[in-house]
């Protein structure tokens, strides 16, 4: 099938830079998610790959072929839109057959292929209906069938699940992932839903304001974000960030009144470079909330009081407000009971905690690498 490669791709609409110097490679058979908030340019990037938009600068390659100037129809892509863009005046069969008819394939061939793809997506009993007679989930299958029927090299999906209700979305998510693996097709998937990206993709590219911030496997992007934005965008609830001051002599971090040792992997770096203000980042699962008991030797921890506790059934999200008006969310087991205003301590799993430079918001190791720190 096809490897998609973008080289220094920039797209401007007038003065607005929608995509800024993007470099990205999507390997053959890979499921790539373009993840970003709305207006981040992720859909523009998809439409650039589709050929609906042409880049202002840069080149796009499918395998070794430069497709930058090719019109969409010559790129052999399947595209599924957020609103599915079915042709309302055509029956489901004709909707799916449309790309084949344009290729001037024979009637029998069309019938065979449409039936085949319809069977695969379990919509073969709906072929004689009109789109408006179908449910949302069925319409979405028709849209996917129409994209797949021409056997494209790349399948492009623009938020295809966001018009479905939550329960259906979960089911389709699994089915879509399975389908992509079975067909072995290169897929690029645009979404603003981090859970979707983490659940479905082989690789995630996080995009903000037209810039690709980080590309990596879901595990990588989740556990080792390169910058504060990525950490704060992935995860539900997202990563916590706490402003802290570095005490160089002792290798400790000062957070309000509390002192905790800096995460061990940063010990060297903090000694080597002179940086005073950092952001301590940790995931809600990588910390523990403990009740403060008088006359007990305290482990190093952050101190604060409970702002709210939200039981989720299996566990509880505890929101703690630290002395300096910073709110952090931590998961606690459901056995622990908390009341509003309880004094609590937060003990971090320091192996998993990260430090970010306060000014550039890059994770420290990258900030030093790029020599961009305050």
């Amino acid at each position: 099938m096809v490897t998609v490669r973008l080289e220094n791709v920039t797209k401007r609409f007038g003065k607005v830079v929608a995509v800024d110097n993007a470099n990205l490679e999507i390997k053959d058979k890979e499921f790539m998610a373009l993840l970003g908030p709305s207006g981040s340019g992720k859909s523009t990037l998809l439409y650039l790959i589709a050929g609906i938009y042409k880049p202002t600068q840069g080149r796009i390659y499918f395998d070794d072929m430069d497709v930058t100037e090719l019109p969409p129809k010559e790129r052999n892509i399947g595209l599924v839109f957020q609103n599915w863009a079915l042709y309302p005046h055509m029956k489901v069969f004709d909707n799916i057959a449309f790309p084949l008819e344009l290729k001037k394939e024979s009637k029998e061939e069309i019938k065979k292929k449409v039936t085949e793809v319809a069977k695969m997506l379990k919509i073969d009993h709906l072929l004689e209906r009109y789109p408006y007679q179908l449910s949302g989930g069925q319409q979405q299958r028709v849209a996917i069938a129409r994209a797949l029927v021409k056997e494209p090299g790349v399948l492009l999906l623009d938020e295809p699940l966001s018009n479905l209700d939550a329960l259906l979305r979960m089911n389709v998510r699994a089915e879509l992932k399975r389908l992509q693996k079975e067909l072995g097709i290169t897929a690029i998937y645009v979404t603003h839903d981090q859970a979707e990206a983490l659940a479905m993709a082989d690789k995630i590219a996080v995009i903000r304001e037209g810039e690709i911030l980080q590309v990596g496997t879901p595990d990588d992007v989740y556990a080792k974000p390169w910058c504060k934005f990525v950490g704060g965008f992935l995860g539900n609830p997202p990563m916590n960030f706490v402003e802290s001051t570095v005490i160089r002599e002792s290798g400790e971090l000062l957070i309000g009144e509390s002192r905790i040792p800096a995460p061990p992997k940063y010990a060297e770096l903090l000694k080597k470079f002179d940086v005073s203000k950092v952001l301590l980042g940790f995931r809600p699962h990588d910390a523990e909330v403990i009740e403060l008991k008088p006359n007990m030797p305290d482990p190093p921890m952050l101190v604060g009081e409970v702002f709210a506790a939200e039981p989720l059934g299996r566990e509880t999200i505890v929101t703690v407000v630290l002395d300096d008006e910073t709110y952090v969310k931590v998961f606690a087991s459901k056995e622990q009971k908390f009341d509003v205003r309880d004094k609590v301590g937060i003990v971090l799993d320091l192996e998993k905690a990260l430090l970010f430079d306060k000014k550039t918001e890059l994770v420290l190791e990258r900030a030093f690498e790029k020599k961009e720190f305050s």
Partner: protein, 290 residues
């Protein structure tokens, strides 16, 4: 009784209906007098029912082309009706074709001067056709073919194009609105599937704006059907409008007979509005369903 916000109370409903009926009395009266007179031996314009004596002679005479009971003046009214229909259909066709293409371009293509053109179209629409007639006549004289045998055909073509030109600006504006209402994704989807833009226009977009096309065909037809000034200035042959106008004040004409011709002239308008209502209101319930 509790009502939803979009439901008007019975009382206001009745009041509004009465007001509308009152307001339409003069119009309704005029039309009914015309229709009644066409079936009467005398005109009913004195508003007295006694003057109504039923006859269908007027209609027979009109259809036979007789203008008066006496004398042998005969005019081929069927031919005039055909001429009128020809002009009307021509105008409808030309207006719809041009506006469907230009409306698409204005809605979906980015080109220099697009905004200006949009404003200009509205201004053109505000321009009265009568004011242009001197210039349009000059062009007519300049382009008139020298061979007399072609003049009749030419005058048909000319009047159709000239009359259509008056309708095109507003029709284009309306068409642009219809195209605007179709999401871009549908067009993109078809382009990615391999369709050319002209094919997208014909196969995907036109079927989606059928009600709009029907409306513009209808308005185009009626514009051509009811036109008097352009037809009278350019067309060599008479239409129903010029026929009625020419005979309205002729000494020999029998007024109830003219009323019959007038009723005949009104028929398509009435028929169209009665039959096309459903089509105009029809919209595709496509799009998104959760």
């Amino acid at each position: 009784m509790l009502t939803d916000v979009e439901v008007r109370s019975k009382k206001t409903e009745v009041a509004i209906t009465i007001a509308i009926l009152m307001a339409s009395i003069p119009l309704f009266l005029a039309f009914s007098l015309l229709v009644l007179s066409s079936f009467s031996k005398e005109m009913m314009t004195n508003l007295s029912l006694e003057s109504f004596r039923f006859t269908i002679e007027n209609w027979i005479n009109v259809l036979q082309g007789k203008l008066a009971f006496t004398g042998g003046i005969r005019q081929n009214i069927l031919k005039y009706t055909f001429n009128t229909a020809l002009v009307a259909l021509g105008v409808a066709g030309v207006v719809t074709l041009i506006s469907a293409l230009s409306g698409y371009a204005l809605s979906r293509m980015n080109f220099r001067g697009r905004k200006f053109l949009l404003m200009f179209l509205l201004m053109l629409h505000a321009f009265p056709g009568v004011a242009l007639i001197v210039g349009v006549y000059l062009l007519y004289r300049l382009s008139l073919p020298s061979s007399p045998s072609l003049v009749t055909t030419f005058s048909f073509m000319y009047v159709i194009v000239a009359r259509a030109a008056l309708e095109v600006p507003m029709a284009t504006w309306l068409m642009k609105g219809f195209f605007d209402s179709i999401p871009w994704e549908i067009e993109w989807s078809a382009i990615v599937d391999g369709a050319s833009r002209i094919r997208v226009w014909r196969k995907i977009l036109l079927p989606l704006i059928k009600p709009g096309i029907a409306a513009i065909l209808l308005f185009g037809f009626l514009a051509g059907w009811q036109d008097l000034i352009y037809v009278r200035t350019f067309l060599v042959e008479p239409t129903l409008a010029t026929y009625i106008e020419a005979n309205l004040e002729a000494e020999y004409s029998h007024m109830p007979l003219i009323a019959a011709a007038g009723t005949l002239y009104l028929l398509p308008t009435i028929i169209f509005f009665l039959t096309s209502q459903k089509l105009l209101l029809e919209t595709h319930s496509g799009g998104i369903k959760g």
